[in-house]
């Protein structure tokens, strides 16, 4: 089993969700995140004083999959999140030892 984590631009989240639904992904977790990569930050101005904001708002999306589905899921996320401009984000994959469905106690791939 794999845990796929994606950091994407907030305004692409809806497209990524739709793309995942279209390939049959049944659940995902999203959270607000902040950070920077090569995009660095941006500038805000208050009463003429300019502030350099280092951290840019992003969304973190997490999806659990079978080993076989991982490549499809990654492809769907990358395609839907891409704008071609700097700051589009990253996707990375972890191996997952165990998954348990809280309601039923099911374990392993059946719990995904």
């Amino acid at each position: 089993m794999k845990l796929i984590t994606a950091i994407v631009k907030p305004f692409r989240v809806g497209d990524v969700r739709d793309a995942l639904r279209d390939i049959g992904v049944l659940g995902l977790t999203v959270s607000d995140a902040q950070g920077y990569g090569r995009q660095r930050g941006h500038t805000e101005v208050y009463r003429g004083a300019e502030y350099q904001i280092d951290f840019v708002p992003k969304i973190r999306m997490e999806v659990l999959t079978d080993d076989d589905d991982a490549a499809h899921v990654i492809e769907a996320i990358v395609t839907a999140a891409r704008t071609g401009k700097i700051g589009d984000g990253k996707v990375w994959v972890h191996n997952v030892e165990e998954v348990v469905r809280v309601r039923t106690g099911e374990r392993g791939a059946g719990a995904i």
Partner: protein
């Protein structure tokens, strides 16, 4: 405060208007609370609001006990301060010494009380985010008696020396704006900068609150200035219109200038510019025709925008720019009276403004008022703050400042941002 009427008889229209204006000016202080609170970081938001609210309570009491008497009782000598015959508002219902009002004297007492409250509350923006609550309360109580009341006497009591010297200050260019601005500078020089200033970002946390507050201030300012006619007639109408137009001019001036400088017109700029224009018209509302009022507002909006930079240049942490907006706007407005005062607007104008062919007499008198109010307010406030710093202390502890004044001073938080922040049990 220029009284045209000689009839010491109560007029019901005037009385109704002044009581309404009393309520309008009262609303400015909660408005200021939100104007300021939106500009601080979220961990200080409640403390910022609280300083304005508690000022309503503190200064109402000091005003009743001694402030009103020191400001408006018969002069005790030299036009410097009133006596204590009216202390505790004893005899205050009979008459306002030297004035011939068409409203009950207690209406005047209440109306003027709201000015004393707002002026004191303005200072909280300069020392924001680092002053102990107890120290603030103590400071404001002393300041309202030692600084505000005498300056109100100088300018607005018919026996005050600036009044006698011919200063025209319709609703408080010297008494409210220069006074709060010069005092703010003295206070921040004594208390020192916020931890991390100017290196760390201290951006506003909730600009919608700031714009809401600016709207309430604008609304109340009509009562502040038009009420200062102390009657409901031509002069009040003229002052109301001039006030609004100057606020408009300030917003336009700030936004146009800001757009050219940084490429964006900001909401904080709109609010700040409007307030700068309203500040500037305060001494001038009952003396200027509509177009000079618009010009005054635009001038104040542009100059205040540039004046914000002074604190970075000279390294004083005036957190919310009380100096740049109130001091600078107050000076511009007070001097504008010397340029544009019109007898057609206010028959009590003896020397018309320089640009209306009246010569430099009135401008010189306005200059004297600016210098006198600046010197007195700065010096006296510096002394009060210095003594308090040496005795009870002014600042919170460094860790309390980092933690935020909301929790360290008031044991509260303004916002519950996450589900986990609401977890807790009654202890």
């Amino acid at each position: 405060m220029h009284l045209l009427t000689e009839v010491a008889q109560v007029n019901s229209g005037d009385t109704a208007w002044i009581i309404v204006c009393t309520a309008l000016v009262l609303l400015m202080t909660p408005g200021l609370a939100f104007f300021y609170a939106g500009m601080v970081r979220s961990k200080h938001a409640l403390a910022m609001i609280m300083q304005s609210f508690v000022t309503i309570a503190i200064v109402s009491v000091t005003w009743v006990l001694v402030g009103y008497s020191l400001a408006f009782d018969h002069d005790v000598g030299g036009g410097l301060v009133g006596g204590l015959h009216l202390a505790g508002l004893a005899h205050a219902e009979v008459a306002v010494p030297g004035m011939h009002l068409t409203v009950p004297p207690l209406a005047f007492v209440a109306f003027q009380m709201m000015f004393a409250i707002l002026t004191a509350a303005l200072l909280s923006g300069a020392s924001a985010d680092r002053m102990r609550f107890g120290a603030f309360v103590t400071f404001i109580a002393i300041w309202s008696v030692v600084v505000y009341a005498p300056l109100a006497h100088w300018t607005w009591s018919p026996q005050g020396w600036l009044h006698q010297a011919g200063l025209l200050d319709f609703a408080g260019g010297t008494v409210v704006e220069i006074c709060s601005g010069a005092s703010a500078l003295a206070l921040v020089l004594v208390i020192g900068p916020r931890r991390g200033w100017p290196r760390e970002m201290m951006a506003p946390h909730n600009l919608p609150l700031t714009l809401l507050g600016a709207g309430l201030l604008w609304f109340g300012w009509i009562g502040f200035n038009a009420g200062s006619a102390l009657s409901a007639g031509y002069l009040a109408a003229s002052a109301a219109l001039a006030t609004h137009l100057s606020g408009v001019g300030g917003m336009i001036g700030w936004l146009v200038c800001e757009k050219r400088l940084t490429g964006k017109a900001t909401t904080l700029g709109a609010a700040s510019g409007a307030v700068a224009g309203l500040v500037a018209i305060t001494p001038a509302a009952g003396f200027l025709s509509p177009l000079p009022a618009l010009l005054l507002g635009a001038t104040a909006g542009v100059v205040s925008l540039f004046a914000v930079r002074l604190k970075f240049r000279f390294k004083y942490d005036d957190s919310l720019d009380v100096v740049a907006v109130h001091y600078v706007g107050g000076v511009i407005g007070t001097l504008f009276v010397g340029l544009f005062a019109a007898a057609a607007v206010n028959p009590s104008v003896r020397h018309q403004g320089l640009l209306l062919g009246g010569g430099p007499t009135q401008l010189a008198r306005q200059g004297v008022g600016v210098l006198a109010a600046t010197t007195f307010a700065f010096t006296a406030t510096y002394a009060i703050a210095w003594v308090l710093r040496a005795t009870i202390g002014l600042r919170v502890e460094p860790d309390e400042e980092t933690e935020g004044l909301d929790s360290s001073q008031h044991a509260e938080t303004a916002y519950e941002f996450t589900a986990t922040s609401g977890l807790g049990r009654i202890s």
